[in-house]
């Protein structure tokens, strides 16, 4: 994903492209992955980039509010951010914490009840917890 692609994606999602936001995006959006804020901060530091912790948190919150990334709440001790934003499912290895994507297109769910009155669906996600056998 080139710098120009990053800029386009930020603009598509109404995120003004500051240098800090671009750096966070370059780390997180470079490929399909699930990273925590702390992991992103670590990678930025490794790259010699100096973005404050507060800005990383602010940026991730902005990105997910604007649909540029998705929050993944599966590990109770930290939030993961998913660079893949289209609907999909996950394997979650409860021993290692590893998250693996499952494409949505082959999966069919039948027999779900209708939604509670006055509500609309935001997403349907399958989480398969696995462990070493």
């Amino acid at each position: 994903m080139s710098r120009q692609d990053i800029l386009n994606r930020l603009r598509e999602h109404d995120v003004s492209p500051t240098s800090q936001r671009i750096e966070v995006a370059e780390v997180l959006l470079s490929r399909p992955q699930h990273l925590s804020a702390d992991q992103i901060i670590d990678r930025l530091n490794e790259l010699g980039s100096r973005v404050s912790k507060a800005t990383v948190y602010n940026t991730l919150k902005l990105f997910s509010k604007n649909g540029l990334v998705k929050e993944c709440n599966v590990d109770p001790s930290r939030r993961y951010y998913d660079s893949t934003t289209h609907a999909h499912h996950h394997f979650y290895n409860v021993e290692t914490g590893e998250l693996t994507d499952i494409p949505e297109d082959r999966v069919t769910i039948m027999g779900l009840p209708r939604l509670p009155n006055g509500t609309e669906r935001e997403s349907v996600e399958i989480l398969i917890k696995i462990k070493s056998s």
Copy 2:
């Protein structure tokens, strides 16, 4: 759920029935519900019961290790404990935080890929995020 039922369920799950564990179980297992540690502490206090925070956390960890309750990690800021332990799914209202059970028996999932090599399935859970429409 009577005191005797509580005692039986604790014994079935190899949990020795101390008075503190019984009190936590009476709160959480009284009906199908999803409670956080803090909510359980609050209810115990309301009931005039005096169980320490550390003991509530220890007890909930023991209960879930022994299959007496299930952890529900859906709200990134707290862990919920589910008094319903058989496989089932959830609606999650992202605005109110409310969790609603979906019985498992009518739901069918097709087209899931096979598990990663060397792993076995621990659970399959559907989470439907909803919001007011």
